[in-house]
């Protein structure tokens, strides 16, 4: 069991078999997390670095917990307090980390393609923890794990994704990954937040939130970045929540056993009313647990490839 490539750059680079291998491994890792003793030795003697150029706590913490549970020695670099702020180029920074003997660099960057531009220039494995508007593969994998625990197969399942698709790396990774496993993905959001040609990625662009959610097996809300109001993408929170939010009435249009996901952090009352966030169908908290399990699986499978070489 191992991944084919040195790096995990995105769902684009994974085969359907690799995706399933990660999900199956993650199920095992989840048992480790829920056991009394969370320590494994899979990454013992290995060096893992998180290199985050964007302020975020949840993804980073999730990766750090994953590598700690597996016994790695790890270091964390963020955009403040390092050479990142001093104007050193990304390539120089990662080459330095590489020279220190790092095995895996987990990288978050505000520029699409940033991990791709350095991955083939260093020995360490690169895990994309979100690059600009491009991909966030471990988020998609944790979303898919959450679905996998409820579906016997992805084939023919209807997945609805609603919100700001233009800026969302979560949409791209989910759309690409779910399409590879045979699911039907529908997307909807304000036209100002819908990228040109998204249908070429194998998704259906719905006419309304209702149309998107109708008969869905799983519904995903996306975070709206409120500062986008200032760039003429939507006029007000009131209007957004009226026309684009997943309300309890909308959620009723999905299949009876459908469940609700959100990559977080959620703007309560904007993309989801609080009543929906907390409803019985919501699996949002479980997604967080699954995030750690999936990241453990990814680190494990990347390290297995390194050990095999």
């Amino acid at each position: 069991m191992a991944l084919k490539n040195k790096d995990l750059l995105g769902m684009k680079q994974l085969t359907s078999e690799e995706i399933m291998e990660i999900l199956d491994t993650a199920k095992t890792m989840k048992m480790v997390i829920s056991s009394g003793n969370k320590k494994t030795s899979h990454l013992q003697g290995k060096a893992v670095i998180t290199l985050f150029y964007e302020n975020t706590t949840r993804t980073r913490t999730s990766f750090e917990m994953a590598s700690n549970y597996m016994g790695s020695s790890s270091a964390n670099i963020s955009s403040s307090g390092s050479s990142v702020a001093k104007g050193e180029s990304l390539l120089d920074t990662v080459r330095t980390l590489d020279a220190m003997g790092t095995d895996i660099i987990i990288m978050r960057h505000n520029q699409s393609g940033a991990p791709h531009s350095i991955a083939n220039k260093i020995n360490a494995s690169v895990v994309n923890a979100g690059d600009g508007m491009n991909e966030h593969p471990t988020q998609a994998l944790l979303d898919m794990l959450t679905m996998y625990e409820r579906f016997d197969t992805f084939e023919g399942k209807n997945i609805a994704i609603c919100g700001d698709c233009y800026h969302s790396r979560v949409v791209r990774s989910n759309a690409i990954g779910l399409a590879k496993l045979g699911a039907n993905v529908s997307v909807y959001g304000p036209r100002t937040m819908m990228p040109v040609g998204i249908e070429n990625m194998g998704v259906r662009v719905a006419d309304s939130v209702a149309d998107c959610v109708k008969d869905a097996d799983a519904v995903m809300g996306l975070r709206v970045q409120l500062e986008r109001q200032n760039s003429a993408l939507f006029p007000s929170v009131a209007e957004y929540s009226k026309f684009y939010a997943i309300t309890p009435e909308i959620l009723q249009l999905a299949k009876p056993d459908a469940f609700l996901m959100h990559p977080g952090p959620c703007n309560h009352g904007v993309e989801l009313p609080t009543a929906v966030y907390d409803c019985d169908q919501s699996v949002i908290n479980e997604q967080v647990t699954n995030g750690v399990a999936v990241r453990m699986a990814v680190l494990y499978l990347l390290m297995a490839r390194r050990n095999n070489l």
């Binding site: 684009k12 180029s89 699409s112 393609g113 940033a114 491009n134 991909e135 040109v196 040609g197 990625m201």
Partner: protein, 417 residues
């Protein structure tokens, strides 16, 4: 210095020999009077090519290119005349900078015709001293790289420049629509890069055509990359609007698919478009809508290109690959004739800017170039004479390698066998 070029074909002529005395083509003289006799073994002599859109980077950005290195690259590409864009530091918006460029170019391996800025500092308020710059030697004005966004300013530039018979060249992109880093479409969506819609270019082209028609003054549209742009220029020409247009080799050889791996050597403004637009550009070249092929030669240092895609500088070098791309992709497949390619790369730009280039008759400046049209060669970025290496064509197999270039009777490039 007297030179005889013998055993050659001469473009558009029955001649098999050319005689050069000093800087000019001359009447025949005996071989024993020649300082050098060049045997071309049957190859064809073409007029020296003219590129009306080049960034030589001097003054101010000599770490990317200098007039000397840019002109050496031009000679290697078969060019004997180039027009330098004014976005230098300081901006070429006054006679002093124009004089400086002309002085520096005196010993360069290519004729340099400076283009002056249309507005002071490429800014948004004041017209530059077009009259004084004309006296100093500019052949056109342009705010290339910084499109003139304000229609009122563009109108005044067109009007004022017309008092001096000064061609106005505009880079057409509406900056409010073009905040992205590549063409907007399925590829930009797939790889999560902000897109630049073709509408950004079309809107400004349409504006410039409307102003040109309304004011009855000429306008030249730089580096056309869109189907809509080609169509509007074609329609305007049919109505008698005084519009001319150029495109670049990358717009008829590449598409935005090339950006998929975030390789910044495929990043430029306007961006590479889809196949549909590429084909429209080729149609425009074929039917005469597009008058010139230019390079938009834009050298950048490695440190400005080896960056995250959206942060990397725009532009690619082009002088050393332009003719070979035109020959390989347009002439060889039979899309246009070699005569048409020489119109696009020599006579048309020379006529639009009234440079008087391209003559191969007795008394004309002895500017010529010779290509190997029969043998394939591999374009190698490490063999370029430009100071920068930002080419997307490294490793391409092409026809039309330059064998010899002469400018004013002097060899400026010779391929060492």
């Amino acid at each position: 210095m007297k030179t005889i070029i013998k055993n050659c074909k001469v473009f558009n002529s029955d001649k098999t020999e050319l005689y050069i005395d000093g800087e000019k083509f001359a009447a025949a003289f005996p071989e024993n009077e020649a300082d050098e006799v060049i045997d071309l073994e049957g190859k064809m002599v073409f007029p020296g090519l003219v590129d009306m859109h080049v960034h030589l980077r001097e003054p101010g950005y000599e770490y990317r290119e200098t007039i000397a290195t840019g002109c050496a690259a031009a000679a290697k590409g078969g060019f004997t005349a180039v027009c330098s864009m004014p976005n230098t530091f300081p901006v070429c918006d006054n006679a002093a900078v124009v004089n400086g460029i002309i002085k520096k170019a005196e010993n360069a391996k290519c004729r340099v015709y400076p283009v002056g800025a249309a507005t002071k500092g490429l800014g948004v308020k004041e017209i530059a001293e077009i009259g004084l710059m004309k006296e100093a030697g500019i052949v056109a004005v342009s705010n290339d790289g910084k499109p003139i966004a304000n229609a009122g300013i563009m109108r005044k530039v067109l009007e004022y420049a017309s008092d001096f018979d000064m061609p106005v060249l505009n880079h057409c992109e509406d900056d409010f629509l073009s905040e992205g880093a590549m063409n907007e479409g399925p590829v930009s969506t797939f790889i999560g890069i902000r897109g630049i819609p073709t509408a950004a270019e079309d809107i400004m082209i349409s504006r410039d055509l409307i102003l040109s028609e309304y004011l009855d003054v000429p306008v030249h549209i730089q580096h056309v990359s869109t189907k809509g742009g080609v169509r509007m220029i074609r329609d305007a020409k049919a109505r008698g609007v005084k519009v001319t247009a150029e495109t670049c080799p990358h717009y008829f050889t590449l598409t935005d698919d090339s950006c998929e791996n975030y390789d910044t050597n495929f990043k430029m403004h306007p961006p590479l478009r889809t196949e549909e637009h590429k084909q429209a550009v080729i149609e425009g070249i074929v039917d005469g809508t597009i008058d010139c092929i230019v390079t938009d030669h834009a050298p950048h240092h490695q440190d400005e290109k080896e960056l995250e895609f959206s942060l990397a500088n725009n532009g690619i070098v082009g002088l050393e690959s332009s003719f070979a791309l035109g020959y390989t992709y347009l002439v060889k497949p039979g899309i246009i004739s070699i005569e048409r390619l020489i119109d696009l790369m020599c006579y048309n730009p020379s006529n639009i800017l009234r440079l008087g280039r391209g003559g191969l008759e007795i008394g004309d400046d002895a500017d010529l170039t010779v290509f190997d049209l029969d043998n394939e060669f591999t374009f190698d970025k490490n063999k370029m004479l430009s100071k920068s290496r930002n080419t997307p064509f490294d490793g391409w197999k092409l026809y039309g390698e330059t064998v010899l270039t002469m400018m004013g009777g002097k060899k400026t490039y010779e391929k060492l066998c």
